[in-house]
Symmetry: C2
Subunit: 403 residues, 2 copies
Amino acid sequence: MTGLTPKSKTPRRAIPPQERSHEVDHPSSPVAEFGIDKPLRLDCGVDLAPFQIAYQTYGELNADKSNAILVCHALTGDQHVANRHPMTGKPGWWETMVGPGRPLDTSRYFIICSNVIGGCMGSTGPASLNPATGKVWGLDFPIITIPDMVRAQAMLIDYLGIETLFAVVGGSMGGMQVLQWTAAYPERVFSALPIACATRHSAQNIAFHELGRQAVMADPDWDHGRYADKAVHPHRGLAVARMAAHITYLSDAALHRKFGRRMQDRELPTFSFDADFQVESYLRYQGSSFVERFDANAYLYLTRAMDYFDIAADHDGVLTAAFRGIETRFCVVSFTSDWLFPTAESRALVHALNASSARVSFAEIETDKGHDAFLLDVPEFFDIAHAFLESAGKARGLNEPGE
Amino acid sequence: MTGLTPKSKTPRRAIPPQERSHEVDHPSSPVAEFGIDKPLRLDCGVDLAPFQIAYQTYGELNADKSNAILVCHALTGDQHVANRHPMTGKPGWWETMVGPGRPLDTSRYFIICSNVIGGCMGSTGPASLNPATGKVWGLDFPIITIPDMVRAQAMLIDYLGIETLFAVVGGSMGGMQVLQWTAAYPERVFSALPIACATRHSAQNIAFHELGRQAVMADPDWDHGRYADKAVHPHRGLAVARMAAHITYLSDAALHRKFGRRMQDRELPTFSFDADFQVESYLRYQGSSFVERFDANAYLYLTRAMDYFDIAADHDGVLTAAFRGIETRFCVVSFTSDWLFPTAESRALVHALNASSARVSFAEIETDKGHDAFLLDVPEFFDIAHAFLESAGKARGLNEPGE
C-alpha cells in the first residue's frame, strides 16, 4: 500500500497491543452503531449483533443527496482515505485520487469510506471485543465475505440517509466490493469504477493468500488466534505474510527498475544473510512496518473473504446473470503489469457486462507499476477516472462547482 | 519438485533430526573425500577443508572417457537423479530424462550427479558436522556461491579421472551451474544444456528468496541456525518458505487447470480456515512433505548462492566477455509459462552467446506448466534434449549403442 522508495530504517518495535486495540474499539473516526435489533446477516448463517462500522467522510452531501461516492478500500486499507492516519501519522492512502480538484473531487462530491466488517480500524472484526465474553473475538468471530462487507456498507448508507450512491469506487478487494454492490444493489449505484480486480479470486491468488495465512499461523505467538489474551502479537508471521503479498503487488519490471541487483549501502556482497540487496531491505521494512498497524487475525479474515469471492457462483455459475438489466454505468480499469489481477480478468468482466447490455467503458492502462498502480501516481488513470465521473455527473444532473 | 496431483494426506510428523543428519554425514551414495591438503577455495575467501562430495553415477564410462555427462541439480534437488530416494522412497527426480532410452541415455552415456556443496544430502554443508567443533556447522558454515559449487564439481570430475565432460545439463539452479561451468572451464565442457535459467538472479527472484529466508528465520525453532544443538528443526518456517517457492514454480494457468476454485472433498465452503480449496490442501502438503527431507539452513545457503549469481558481474559487467572464444556447443531451453526464469532471460543469454560467436541453438517450449516444466513430462523438451545430445555425440565421435 506504500510507494516504492526503499527504506533502510531498522525495524521499529511492534506496537503494544493496547495501542492497536484502542483504535479497534474506539476509532478516531465517526462510528455507526447497530444494536441487537439490527443484526448483520452474514453469508455463513450468523446474525452479527451488535456491531459497528467506522467511517470517514469528505466534502458535503448536497440537498438532494445525489453526490455521494462510496470508496471501498483494499485488503490492508481503511477508512482514512484522505486524512492523516491516526496510527502511522502518514497521509491518507488515496490522497492522489481524493481531495479538492482530484478525480474524486471533495469540493463537488460527498466521499464516504468505511472500514470493512472484519477489519481492525474501528469496524467490528476479530480484533474487537466480543460483548458476549468481554474478551477479544479472535477466531470466534464468524467468517465474513465480500457480500457481507457490502451488506454492512448498505446499512451504513441507510444510516446516513442516502438512497442512491452517485458512484462506488475501489481497487483490488475494493473493486470486488464495487462489483458486489452492482450485483446486489444495482438500483442504488448510479456509476461504478472497479479497478484492478476480478469477479472471482484465481487459484494462484488463493495460493498466495493461503501462504500468508500459514505464515501467520506458523508463528507460535499466534496461539490459535488467542494472542490478545496474552497481550502479544504474531508480528513475525504477519511480517512474512506481508512480504509475500507485497511481492505480488509489484511487477518484475518495477522491481528491476527500482532495485535491480543494487546493493544496500555497499558495493560488494557481505557473504552473509544480511540484507545485501536493496530489494531485501525494502521487503523487510514493508513487513516490519505493516505489523505495527494491522491485526493478524483481521488479515486472516480479509484474505479469506477475497478467496471466497465468486460472483458467478452466486448466480448458478453464469456471470452475465449477475448484471442482467443493470442500469449502472461502468468504467472498468486494469493495468498492463498487474499480474495479481491481470487484464484478462477485467476483460472477462467487460464481456459479461456487454452481454448484459450494461453501459460499460474499459481502460487498460500501460504501466510497469504492477497491481500497486491504482495507489500510485499514474496520470492516465486519474484522467480516466476524472472523465468518467464528469460524464456520469452530467447524466446525474450534478451541478458544476461554483454554480 | 513434484507433480501436480493434489494430496489430501494429513501432514506427517517432522522427521527426527538424527534421521536427517545420518544422510547428511553418511550418505547412501558414493562420497569423494577431500582432505586438508585439498581445500575448496570459496569466493568468500575461506578455504574449506576437509570436505566431501556425495554423488551418484549411472551407466558406464567408456574407454576414452568421452561419454560423461554431469547433471546439475536445482535448489532442492540432490544426487538421486534416477534412483529411489533414500529418505522419501520416491523415484529419482529426473527419471523422465535419465535412464535407458531416455534423452540422457544411461546405455550410452556415463551420467554423474553430485549433491552441491552447501547441500544436505551428503556433500558438506551447514547441516554437516564441523570437524573443528564436533557440532553441526549451522551459520558458521561459510557462504557458498554457484562458482563454488562448480569448483567442487570440477574437483569431483578430477577425482573420477575425467578430463572433459561430454555434456553438462541442468535446470533452474542447475542451469546456473551449467553456465558457470562453461564460463569457468570452457575447455572441459563439450556441450551444454542450460534449461529454464538465467545468467543472474532478478530482483523479483531475490525478493521471493528473501521471503523464504525470513519465513525460516521467523521460526523460533530456527534459533539463529543453532537448532541442531537442541535436536529440533524449524519445520513451520521452512514449510512456509517451501509453499512460497512452490507457487513460483507453477504458472497461473497450470494452477487454474489443475485446481481452479475446486473445493477439497466438499461442495460448499466451510466458512472456516480449513483447506476448503484443493490448491490450499496441495500447498500445505508441499510444505509439510518438504521439511521431512530438507535442512532449513541448507535452504538459506542455497537460495543465497542463487541470489549472488551474476556471470556478467564477474566479467566487468560484460556478459559476452564470459563466453569469448568458447568452443562449447549450447542448447538453451526456456518454457513459455515460466515466470521465475522467463524466456527473456534465456534470450539475453543467447544474444550474448551469439555475440561471442558460440555455437548455440535455442528452443522456447510452449507449455502452461511453468518453471516446473523441466521436471515434468514435456515430450517436445525431451525430443530437443535428445536431438541436441545426438548431434553433439556425432561431433564428439561417440559410438552408437550396440556398435
